[in-house]
């Protein structure tokens, strides 16, 4: 993530209760005096300890470091470091679903301790050690007895709406979260969902009737004497939880994805050789953070994550990202984060002044980037000139493991079937010449039983 010294993070500008800022590589959270009562209650009630114990809330420690805004400051915290900030539109179906269920679990736990979530934005959840966790310690308020859930609408827009659209209509509708930073409007969701979604009680209530209700009652005066008791609140949470749990997305039904398509391009010996080379190169760099671009279901990403590097496994296919995530969950992996990313149109900077959510480029933090069986998709599949590709990798990291897939390769031939071959400069010589302008090629190894070649490069300083 891009951080500047003493910079107040743009994403937390709305919250009067505190904000995140960075100073010399350390991330701090200032808790304002305005939040003192709630913060003390969070700690003294035991809720903070319980949530941290259950892995639902980011742990922090208090520090004497000087505040950024001393006039309003109550406390300064140093939260445990999150390796990479990702956004809901970069999560696969089950990542978003788990983030939703985590939010509801936190809300249920908070109610047990006499508090309630006043904010249920998807952006407050991050993946940490493989699991979703709440990172905004200032999201709680002392439960206002008799009041409805203040962030009910936000929860529906951030979680229930995209998940139901993905499950009932099309997995790609998760992309709408990029356009609607505060979640997908419920009237739009209601119009886009098929009629059969009305047969699911939770969707009928929390999406369809909720959308109609919003329209009917917008601008009406609130009846302040009417109470919303705790049983109703628990019922509301329970109903949302049931609804979320019932939403499922199956890869087989959609025809998405070609698992291991690229791995099928090798013989068993070739694949083993490629794995051995990649492992060798990784061990030479000993990276802290690795980005695997076009990671598929993470076969090679795991060589990095199992070596101890925190590894981001990016792919544009929601099915492989989801499958990879489910593997992370079942194996309880802590160093691997699969994320959706279309490199031909990477996550932009969005929100107020384009500073609320960073672009992918702004979050570049890798020591090593792996681009295995990828560049033919960018050069031939997307007409990216070779020199532009070099420039792209140059901005990402110091070390690069990159595979060259020649035109004679069946996968490239397949790409060329439907397009004119205008890629005369797509040759091994030209590839090496262009990359050598910006990188030092330390190793260049042909992969056994294959026409492909693996390169290990370092950026020229």
């Amino acid at each position: 993530m891009t951080t500047h010294n003493h910079l107040k993070q743009a994403a937390s500008f709305r919250d009067p209760n505190g904000f995140i800022f960075s100073r010399e590589e350390t991330i701090y959270r200032q808790v304002n005096i305005a939040y003192q009562g709630n913060f003390d209650f969070l700690i003294e009630s035991g809720l903070y300890n319980q949530l941290v114990k259950e892995g639902l809330l980011i742990p922090h420690r208090e520090t004497n470091a000087p505040p950024l805004d001393p006039e309003n400051s109550y406390k300064i915290l140093i939260p445990e470091k999150i390796e990479f900030i990702s956004y809901p539109y970069e999560w696969s179906f089950n990542q978003l679903k788990d983030a939703a269920l985590t939010t509801l679990s936190i809300q249920k736990k908070a109610l047990e301790f006499g508090m309630s979530l006043k904010d249920s934005s998807g952006y407050n959840i991050q993946f940490h050690h493989g699991r979703p966790i709440l990172i905004d310690t200032l999201s709680f308020e002392i439960y206002p007895e008799g009041k409805p859930w203040v962030s009910y609408r936000q929860f529906c827009q951030h979680f229930l709406a995209p998940l139901s659209l993905m499950a009932y209509q099309d997995i790609r509708l998760g992309n709408l979260l990029k356009s609607f930073i505060d979640g997908i409007p419920l009237d739009l969701t209601s119009r886009m969902l098929p009629f059969r979604s009305r047969l699911a009680p939770s969707l009928l209530i929390h999406i369809h009737l909720h959308a109609s209700g919003q329209k009917r009652y917008a601008g009406e005066k609130l009846d302040t004497t009417q109470r919303f008791n705790k049983t109703s609140l628990l019922g509301l949470i329970d109903s949302l939880e049931t609804g979320i749990k019932q939403l499922k997305w199956s890869v087989n039904k959609t025809g998405w994805s070609n698992y291991y398509q690229d791995e099928q391009s090798y013989t068993a010996e070739g694949l083993a050789h490629k794995q051995q080379l990649v492992s060798e190169f990784i061990s030479q760099v000993k990276p802290g953070i690795v980005w695997d671009l076009g990671a598929n279901t993470g076969l090679f990403s795991r060589l990095a994550s199992e070596s101890g590097a925190f590894t981001l496994a990016f792919d544009f296919d929601p099915a492989v990202v989801d499958r990879n995530y489910q593997e992370v969950v079942s194996r309880k992996e802590t160093h691997l984060l699969p994320l959706l990313q279309d490199l031909t149109n990477p996550s932009p900077a969005i929100g107020w002044q384009n500073r609320e959510r960073d672009s992918l480029k702004d979050r570049a933090n890798a020591d090593l980037v792996m681009a295995l069986a990828l560049i033919h998709h960018l050069i031939i599949g997307n007409n990216v000139p070779l020199e532009s590709l070099v420039g792209f990798f140059q901005t990402l990291s110091k070390w690069l493991i990159i595979e060259f897939v020649p035109k004679s390769d069946p996968q490239v031939r397949r790409l060329l079937v439907a397009r004119e071959d205008i890629f005369e400069s797509y040759t091994q010589d030209e590839f090496e010449r262009r990359f050598q302008e910006q990188f030092i090629i330390h190793r260049s190894e042909p992969i056994r039983d294959s026409s492909r070649r693996l390169y290990f490069m370092e950026i020229r300083s």
Binding site: C156, P201, G213, Q214, Y217, G219, L222, N229, S232
Partner: protein, 74 residues
């Protein structure tokens, strides 16, 4: 589940048949959501209570039946 469907239908009728007092050029969905929650409060609350008790009843019988084979052995 029947109570869910019945209640949901009642709420649907209430929402869809009522007419707002005034039309606004810009409608803030936030206040609408707040009032909507008040309307569904009884439904979600009642469904929750029924669910909790239903689980207890099922749990009670499961306990009895799971005990029986053990009792016979004794």
């Amino acid at each position: 589940m029947n109570i869910w469907i019945l209640n949901t239908l009642l709420i649907a009728t209430q929402i869809l048949s009522s007419t707002p007092d005034k039309k606004l050029a810009y409608l803030d969905p936030g206040s609408g959501s707040f009032i909507f929650q008040m309307i569904i409060a009884t439904l979600v609350g009642a469904a929750f209570v029924i669910k909790v008790y239903w689980k207890r009843i099922i749990g009670f019988f499961q306990k009895i039946f799971s005990r029986q084979p053990k009792d016979k052995q004794e």
